[in-house]
């Protein structure tokens, strides 16, 4: 497994951990004691807005730690940092498919509203599809690196 595949794997695992811990934190702090908050749009808005910088910040920290560990394990040798045409093609293909998935999730989320479900169901479907699309993006990149593009 080369450095780019390892980087994707680390990103995948850290994304899963971030979403799991954040969901657990929001649930235990806000939802467990007051389930009625699920119908409060302000709660969903602030949860989204906090999640984005937290997830980006944690991803950056984890990638920095990964780069330092890799540098130490490679005994100071320069690792391959070039992002070339193949990387861009792989990224484009993975983004394209994951965007389709997110659009499907968005339509499903709107469908829950159209079917008269509670608004919190729409938010859960929306967040889940965003998370799933992000996971699929990483998995596809890993797949294209392994199987070819």
């Amino acid at each position: 497994m080369d450095i780019k595949e390892k980087r994707i794997l680390v990103s995948l695992l850290s994304s899963v951990l971030v979403i799991l811990f954040y969901s657990w934190y929001v649930y235990s702090k806000y939802i467990a004691d007051n389930p009625a908050i699920l119908n409060d749009f302000k709660f969903w808005g602030s949860s989204f807005i906090v999640l984005i910088p937290v997830a980006i910040g944690i991803q950056i920290v984890i990638q920095i730690i990964f780069a330092i560990v890799t540098h130490i394990l490679n005994k100071g040798e320069e690792i391959d940092p070039i992002d070339d045409e193949r990387d861009k093609l792989i990224e484009l293909k993975a983004i394209k498919i994951s965007h389709y998935l997110f659009i499907l999730g968005f339509v499903l989320a709107m469908g829950t509203l159209a079917m008269g479900m509670q608004p919190w169901v729409m938010f859960v479907v929306l967040i889940s599809s965003g998370f799933l699309a992000s996971m699929v993006n990483e998995i596809l990149r890993l797949y294209f690196y392994r199987k070819g593009v």
Partner: protein, 81 residues
């Protein structure tokens, strides 16, 4: 569209060029070593620009580095009147 098979002689050409390493070729062409590995293994077909760059490094014409083969013939379309 007909299926195609694109192969290359990069491994042989590297050997003939004083056992040039994949890393050296990658540095000369401005791509990562993984990309050179993928091209050699037929897992990635380079852009025309990269293909020409590789050919230029070995001082060979493109068709001596890469070979192109049609696997199935495309159906002949009837000419429009």
């Amino acid at each position: 569209m007909a299926k195609v098979n694109i192969t290359n002689n990069i491994r042989t050409l590297r050997f003939l060029a004083n056992e040039m390493t994949q890393q050296a070729l990658a540095e000369k062409t401005g791509v990562s070593r993984q990309t050179i590995v993928a091209i050699e293994n037929g897992k990635y077909f380079p852009t025309l620009e990269l293909a020409f760059r590789i050919a230029q490094i070995f001082a060979k014409p493109l068709e001596e580095v890469f070979t192109f083969e049609l696997l199935t013939e495309p159906e002949n379309k009837k000419p429009k009147n």
